[in-house]
Each structure stands twice: as structure tokens, then as C-alpha cells.
């Protein structure tokens, strides 16, 4: 199976602190990969590097055979890598529909853009809330909107940064339902999540990071039993 994304020896230093010490991992097409690790492991930074918001000091990121380090975030986006953010970045002054439309406009024009938006709204069950503003939605719905926004342009790779954060059990379930549907359609995804149990049940592979490096990767069962991983979670909840 071809690798859609390959991260090789990515290093990044912030103000003298080595946040990423040489991260190497890959994501195969059509798979869901979970990225877990304690706080400060460098997961979000890795996301930022992949999506182009942060430039690594060294290393390479190859997407669909193409080196994307050094490209602007919007270029990387257009190439097919879309992401969501840990702290939701919805445009509060725009309606749900408009939020998604802006993203659609990066790839589509005029009427076809609006059509895509409508389709996406239906898929996510948001059609009834299209003209509402994000502040009028529940947290779960807001997460769905951000997801919909990331998906309307039919990205090849989706980076989801803690899509379930702040959600109740029920809300988390519906958001994950949406994610699962995307997977069924063949989307490749890399998901950072702290709700490790939910993650483990639904991913094809797991990558565990700690202190700026990958300490384990493989299928969920193996990773859970890996002594290094258990050690890292000592004092916290074991996965």
C-alpha cells in the first residue's frame, strides 16, 4: 500500500527547546492513523509542520510523493491536506453555510461551490442549521462544522487535532460517526486524540509520541502492550 504521507526525521526547536527531535512516521492511503502521547509530546507541532504553519529546522515531509516542507499552508491545503484545530477556528461572524462555503471556494467556483456545500451540509446532518451562526450551536455541532469545512474540498489527507475535545459522550459519538463515514469513503486520516479508548477502537494504526520522538507505532493491540508505551503513561491512564 502506498504511503500518502511520509515524515522523515523532522526536527524543530522553539526558543532553545527541542520540540521535535527527529520524528519519522508514515500514513498509508485509506487508513486511519491515531497519534497519541502525553501533553507536550509534540503532536500539535507535528501537525503544524505537516500543514505548513511551522517550518521544521530539518527533515522532510513528503505528501503523495511531493516534498511539502517550505510550502505555504494554503498551498499545502490546496494540494489536498486539510486540518482541523484543537481550539476550534470557526468564523463566528459567518453562518454555518458560509463557513463551509469559504473552504469550498478554494477549489470550486460559484454555483458548483454552493452545490458542494449543500451536499456536505446534508451529509453531516447540518442542513437545518445552515443559516445559524456558530455561537448558536452546541459544541458537538461546532466540531461537525469544522469537520465539514475541512472536508468539502475533498481532501486526500485529513489531519484532525483533537476532534472530540470538550464533547460529551453523546456528542463525541456523533462526531466520530461522521469521521467513520469519511473513512468508509476512503479518506486517509491522521487523528490526534486524548480519548485513547475511543481512538484505539477505530483506527488501523497507532503512532505514539513522547518528548518529540515516536516511541512506538503499529496496530493498536501491539502498541498497547508495548512496554515503552506503558511506561510513558505510568501515572496517567494506560491506553
Amino acid at each position: 500500500m502506498p504511503s500518502i504521507l511520509e515524515v522523515r526525521e523532522v526536527k524543530k526547536k522553539f526558543n532553545g527547546l527541542m520540540v521535535l527531535k527527529g520524528v519519522t512516521m508514515s500514513v498509508e492511503a485509506g487508513k486511519i492513523v491515531g497519534l497519541i502521547g502525553p501533553n507536550g509530546a509534540g503532536k500539535t507541532t507535528l501537525f503544524n509542520v505537516i500543514s505548513g504553519f511551522v517550518r521544521p529546522d530539518s527533515g522532510s515531509v513528503v505528501f503523495s510523493g511531493r516534498e511539502i516542507v517550505g510550502l505555504a499552508p494554503e498551498e499545502i491545503s490546496r494540494l489536498g491536506v486539510r486540518r482541523t484545530f484543537q481550539l476550534l477556528k470557526l468564523w463566528e461572524k459567518l453562518t454555518v453555510e458560509q463557513n463551509i462555503l469559504v473552504s469550498a471556494l478554494s477549489v470550486y467556483q460559484g454555483e458548483s461551490a454552493r452545490r458542494e456545500v449543500r451536499t456536505t451540509l446534508l451529509e453531516f446532518g447540518l442542513a437545518g442549521k445552515a443559516s445559524l451562526y456558530p455561537t448558536q450551536l452546541s459544541q458537538g455541532e461546532r466540531r461537525l462544522v469544522e469537520l465539514a469545512r475541512a472536508v468539502v474540498a475533498k481532501p486526500v489527507l485529513l489531519l484532525l487535532d483533537e476532534p472530540l475535545a470538550g464533547l460529551s459522550e453523546g456528542e463525541a459519538e456523533s462526531v466520530f460517526e461522521a469521521i467513520r463515514r469519511l473513512h468508509v469513503r476512503g479518506s486517509t486520516m491522521l487523528i490526534v486524540e486524548h480519548r485513547v479508548k475511543v481512538l484505539m477502537r477505530n483506527v488501523d494504526r497507532v503512532v505514539v509520541m513522547d518528548q518529540g520522538v515516536v516511541i512506538a507505532q503499529g496496530n493498536p493491540a501491539d502498541v498497547v502492550a508495548d512496554p515503552k508505551v506503558i511506561e510513558v503513561y505510568l501515572g496517567g491512564t494506560p491506553p
Binding site: 491545503s77 484545530f85 463557513n99
Partner: protein
């Protein structure tokens, strides 16, 4: 931004029927042009929150371009207007490309210096640019008051329409998104700078065009056109009308310009009144003209399916 906000503007066609028209026609003309100027300012400022503090620069640029072409080269009015458009667009690009990449406050500070720049130029080259007294004898659009008024009105309404359509379009949406969160825009595949430049160029072009019309209606131009009071008034009037609504700033500017004759006060006093009003509004809640309408709309929609 609802399209029905454009309707009140249509009433302006009826104005020449009123008896006071003759005395105030030039004030009306000016008010219309300021309306367009402020609306054009809103395209950038109201959406992306990049406050251009030197909008008068483009206005003066357009005016002077038209004036120069008319007086020195005998160009016809359409030619001068086309030229103004071109010049404004080019200047918009030249200024916008470097300056829109930086953060909002820096941009504002930078634009503040633009009118000053032009003013300096008029003094450095008094012969070509008329110095303090300005340039006279510009070919007039029409020698009748009504003619001038209707011409200006058509221009103003057409501009307002175009600006409004742009604001309501997908591009306008993108600009609004930019004003809130640029990184999110990037993450969704759009280059912020490209759109900001677009907004700025549009803003400049219409500002320049209003200047051009000014020159052709009033027959002269002077350095006062780029004074700070003009630029800053545009900002204040824009805020007063409601950022991001295009129509709001247009009406606000139009009405404010009419204050002096309406209340029988001078220009300065009107400015004072206006600024006080805006200041009060700013400190209180955002209850500006169109915000009220917006909140009403949101309330209605917040009571969803009551079937």
C-alpha cells in the same frame, strides 16, 4: 447584509423636486461622493479589519489625475475617468502588495502617511500640481445643477451597487473570514494576501473614481482633498454606518455631509458632533444602525423550527 438596505438610496432620485435643491445641490453632490468614498473604504476595513487611514489619498489621486489630464491634455471626461481608474488600480497594487502582508495596526500606520506624501509632492512640484491653490478649470461634466446631480447620483448608485455585490459575493465572504481568522483561511486553501490586495484595489479604484467625478463636477481640485480630516472622517463615518455593510457607511457619510446645512452649523461643528456621537456609540454597546437589524435577524433565527 440584506439587499433591501439599498432601497432607501433610490429615493435620492426624487430630490431635485424639492425647493431647496438649487442651494444645496453641490452639497448633495459632495455628500454622494463621500458616500461612495466611505463605502469603498468599508470594503477593506469593514471586512478584513484593515483600517486604511489614508483613504483620502486615493480620492485625491483620482481627482488630480482627472484634473491634470483635463487641463493639461484636454482629455475628455470618459478618458479622465478611465485614467483615474487605471492609476488608482496601479497605485493600489503598488501600495497594497507590500503593505497588506503585515499586520493590521502597522498597515494603518503606514496608510496614515500616504496623504502626507501626496501633499508633500504638491508642494515640491507646485507648477505641475498646482501647489496650495490646486488646479482649476477642469472640464465640467455638466453646466446645470440638475445635470451634475443626476450624473453624480447615477455614479454613486452604480458604485454602491457594485461594491455591495462584491461584498455579498464569495470573495466578500472570504474577506470577512480573513478579518476574523487569517490562519483558518490559510488552512482552508486560500491565500490571504491575494484577497486583501483585491479588497484594497477595489477600495482604491472606487475612491479614485469618486475623486475623478469630484474633479469633473466641481471643476477644480486642491490639496485639501487629501487632508487628514477627510481620511479620518471616512473612518469615523464608516464606523458610524456599521462596518462591513457597505450600505451603512454610504448612508452615514451621506447624511453626515448634509448635517451642516440641515442644522445650520459649519463643517467643523458637524465633525465635532459626529465624532462625539461615534465615540459614545463605541463605548456603549455595538448598537450601530445596521447592527441592530442584524441582531434582530439573529434573534428570529435563533427561535428555530416552531412548526
Amino acid at each position: 447584509m440584506k439587499w433591501y438596505t439599498l432601497f432607501p438610496a433610490l429615493t435620492l432620485f426624487a430630490l431635485p423636486m424639492f425647493p431647496f435643491f438649487d442651494i444645496y445641490s453641490s452639497t448633495l453632490d459632495l455628500a454622494l461622493l463621500f458616500g461612495v468614498l466611505t463605502a469603498s473604504w468599508d470594503v477593506l476595513a469593514g471586512f478584513t479589519n484593515y483600517f486604511n487611514l489614508g483613504q483620502a489619498f486615493m480620492f485625491g489621486l483620482g481627482a488630480y489625475t482627472s484634473a491634470l489630464l483635463s487641463v493639461d491634455w484636454g482629455a475628455t471626461i470618459p478618458e479622465t475617468m478611465a485614467a483615474s481608474t487605471l492609476v488608482s488600480a496601479i497605485m493600489g497594487l503598488l501600495i497594497g502588495i507590500p503593505s497588506l502582508r503585515i499586520k493590521g495596526p502597522y498597515f494603518s500606520i503606514f496608510t496614515l502617511s500616504l496623504p502626507l506624501l501626496f501633499e508633500q509632492l504638491t508642494f515640491i512640484f507646485p507648477n505641475q500640481l498646482g501647489g496650495e491653490r490646486g488646479i482649476f478649470g477642469v472640464h465640467k461634466l455638466s453646466h446645470s445643477l440638475i445635470g451634475s446631480y443626476y450624473a453624480t447620483l447615477v455614479f454613486a448608485l452604480a458604485s454602491l451597487l457594485v461594491l455591495y455585490v462584491i461584498g455579498a459575493s464569495g470573495t466578500g465572504l472570504i474577506l470577512k473570514a480573513l478579518g476574523e481568522d487569517e490562519d483558518a483561511v490559510r488552512a482552508n486553501g486560500l491565500n490571504p494576501t491575494t484577497y486583501k490586495i483585491f479588497g484594497f484595489v477595489i477600495s482604491s479604484v472606487f475612491a479614485g473614481l469618486s475623486g475623478s467625478v469630484y474633479a469633473n463636477v466641481f471643476g477644480f481640485v486642491e490639496p485639501m482633498l487629501f487632508s487628514y480630516s477627510v481620511s479620518l472622517s471616512v473612518v469615523v463615518m464608516g464606523v458610524l454606518g456599521g462596518l462591513g455593510t457597505i450600505a451603512g457607511p454610504f448612508y452615514a457619510a451621506f447624511l453626515v455631509e448634509l448635517l451642516p446645512p440641515a442644522l445650520g452649523v459649519g463643517q467643523t461643528e458637524a465633525t465635532i458632533i459626529m465624532t462625539i456621537v461615534v465615540m459614545i456609540l463605541l463605548i456603549r454597546n455595538p448598537s450601530r444602525l445596521h447592527r441592530i437589524i442584524r441582531t434582530e435577524k439573529v434573534k428570529v433565527e435563533a427561535h428555530p423550527t416552531k412548526r
